[in-house]
Symmetry: C2
Subunit: 340 residues, 2 copies
DNA sequence: TTGTAGGCGTTATCAG
DNA sequence: CTGATAACGCCTACAA
């Protein structure tokens, strides 16, 4: 009989070996009792469970990750957390991944490709089992990092090159559809308010331009673009600037609801009647838009569903399956309310 | 000269040893070149850096965490991500922790103490070096987990028992102050709309009640409480119910700005003049509140600063220092605008 | 300034 | 069903 040497650990926390020692079995058996209970006799299992409960043992993820060469975690990169659009995406992701035992490493790139790159580098050190990333505008280095890591990736929000996995919608089409709606309503001098100018906004803008062009209603004076992050306050400000550069504008397509809400507030304040004097449309259908006065016409985007589907697709790829199809277009809905 | 045996790794990724082998040195030297460059000769350092760049080597956090018995990560538990209040707290936390090399594990408890407990259990497996948690309403098991883990904790938003570390404000006082403001403005039948009913809302309610009591203006019919999560739509709905149960109400203190915004939208729709017929006050000073019509009187809470200070305090404790004082009251600001 | 030995806590592998 | 052994990749301690 060998004398078990006392095992003073550096961290002082309880380990598998501690539990094993307590009930005179081996660490590996305790490990099995936890991970594959059906491979352990009921008697031992009961003892082990009791010891675990007594001691408050918590498995050490780092050790597990090291031994198994996988971390049960997924890195998620979004451009912003203050935009509820991405919060809803995260909710969809979480609801899929959580039940499968995955942890989520959330990274906020603050709309910067450089930040995205450094965040990704940082997260790759955790050897995530998969990656969910927003859009397709990665730096070359980011793309290289992803390629080298060999982990499955699913892009969110936009649809891209056919060889990539993605769940999203055609931002161009949505921008086009909203503009068509305004044209069909009879508006003729349709402006566009753009903020942040991230790739998705630029796509919407392209859709807007295409629709105007097609209808012979091109209206350059009506375009107002600003790199500033979108906000209600910015909407207020941009309306003022727009009315100066295009006083005869009769409809305004805002690249998102924040901006549109600011515009509506300012219209109220100035006594501009919406939609009679100026029609206002937004994008994304945020919570306030259904209640503001007048209720805002907008494009509803399926954020939760995008997160859900992207996570589901990633799950398949992490399990080695090949998701079919590789690109899922979840579309958009034109929600016509009172403001147009 | 010993023959180096080929090192086929399970994961296939590049390791310190790979780099070392490439340039004929040892793993530990490469480790030092990365972590304590001043302990390695310039010549070797240059070679090592080159090899790292060439191979795209990324350190393995799990191995590092295991070896050092610390993870350079901090667990953060908030009740909601859809409430921008907590997003701003996260921003403050991030801005402090990120530069110090800490990763943030974000947990959304969805206002459930049970979820909080299971999230904490999950995150403790990552052996975070510290914990930031919202409020003081933990389950007994949660408290036990925290105690056993022996990691430093800082509570956020509220102030609590003197032996705990916390950064926040006296929700009771803020509720009291807003109610005093309404009383001083001359309103006499002041109602209260409460949603979610989390501990902080209940504190504000208590402050409201105390102020009314003190002024001899107790107005039970004016209290309307609903467990439903707060939202603009709920504000609309609650106003309707309130006007039925307390038609003579002349001021309404909403437990947060979402609710208040819904109330304002519905007042507009019904032609109720604010503040002449009904004064409306909110709580938190969300972005829209400064722009809505009429502009909303509310309590501004220092969310970013709370996150920032809490993270700073945690940092001190993680470095073994004892922060002084242990409780930081960051206060609140009564922002009087047009709605009262 | 560099290297060797050994351990961190868990799991894969293979043997009983 | 159970266990011994050897990784996993990195770091501490000590030695040279």
């Amino acid at each position: 009989m060998s004398i078990r040497k006392p095992r003073p650990t550096r961290s002082g926390s309880i380990t598998l070996a501690d539990i094993a020692e307590r009930i005179g079995t081996s660490a590996i058996t305790v490990s099995r009792a936890i991970n594959t209970p059906h491979l352990v006799s009921a008697a031992l299992r009961a003892q082990i469970d009791a010891a675990i409960a007594e001691t408050g043992y918590l498995p050490n993820r780092a050790a597990r990750a090291l031994a198994r060469a996988r971390s049960d975690s997924v890195a998620v990169l979004v451009p912003s957390l203050s935009n509820t659009v991405f919060i809803e995406i995260l909710a969809g992701i979480h609801d899929v991944l959580q039940p499968h035992g995955y942890r989520t490493l959330i990274g906020d790139t603050r709309y910067s490709a450089a930040q995205e790159e450094s965040l990704l580098r940082a997260y790759l050190e955790h050897s995530p089992d998969g990656l969910l990333i927003t859009g397709f505008e990665q730096t070359a280095a980011t793309r290289q990092l992803i390629a080298n890591s060999r982990i499955p990736v699913v892009h969110m929000m936009e649809l891209g090159p056919a060889d990539a996995c993605a769940v999203g919608l055609h931002q161009f089409d949505a921008g086009f559809a909203m503009t068509r709606h305004l044209i069909e309503r009879g508006y003729r001098r349709i402006g566009f308010l753009g903020a942040q100018l991230d790739p998705r906004v630029m796509e919407r803008l392209a859709g807007y331009r295409a629709a105007l062009q097609q209808a012979g209603l091109v209206y350059p004076a009506g375009e107002l673009l600003d790199r500033t992050p979108s906000s209600i306050g910015l909407g207020v400000q941009l309306l003022d600037r727009l009315l100066q550069q295009a006083p005869d504008c009769d409809a305004l397509f805002c690249c998102n609801d924040d901006l549109a809400q600011g515009v509506l507030f300012e219209c109220q304040r100035r006594g501009i009647r919406v939609p009679q004097q100026l029609a206002v449309a937004g994008f994304n259908d945020l919570a306030a838009s259904a209640w503001i006065n007048p209720r805002l016409t907008t494009i509803a985007t399926p954020r939760y569903a995008i997160g859900h589907a992207a996570a589901t697709m990633l799950l398949q790829r992490m399990e080695g399956r090949v998701p079919e199809p590789a690109q899922i277009d979840l579309g958009y809905t034109l929600v016509v309310r009172e403001s147009t």
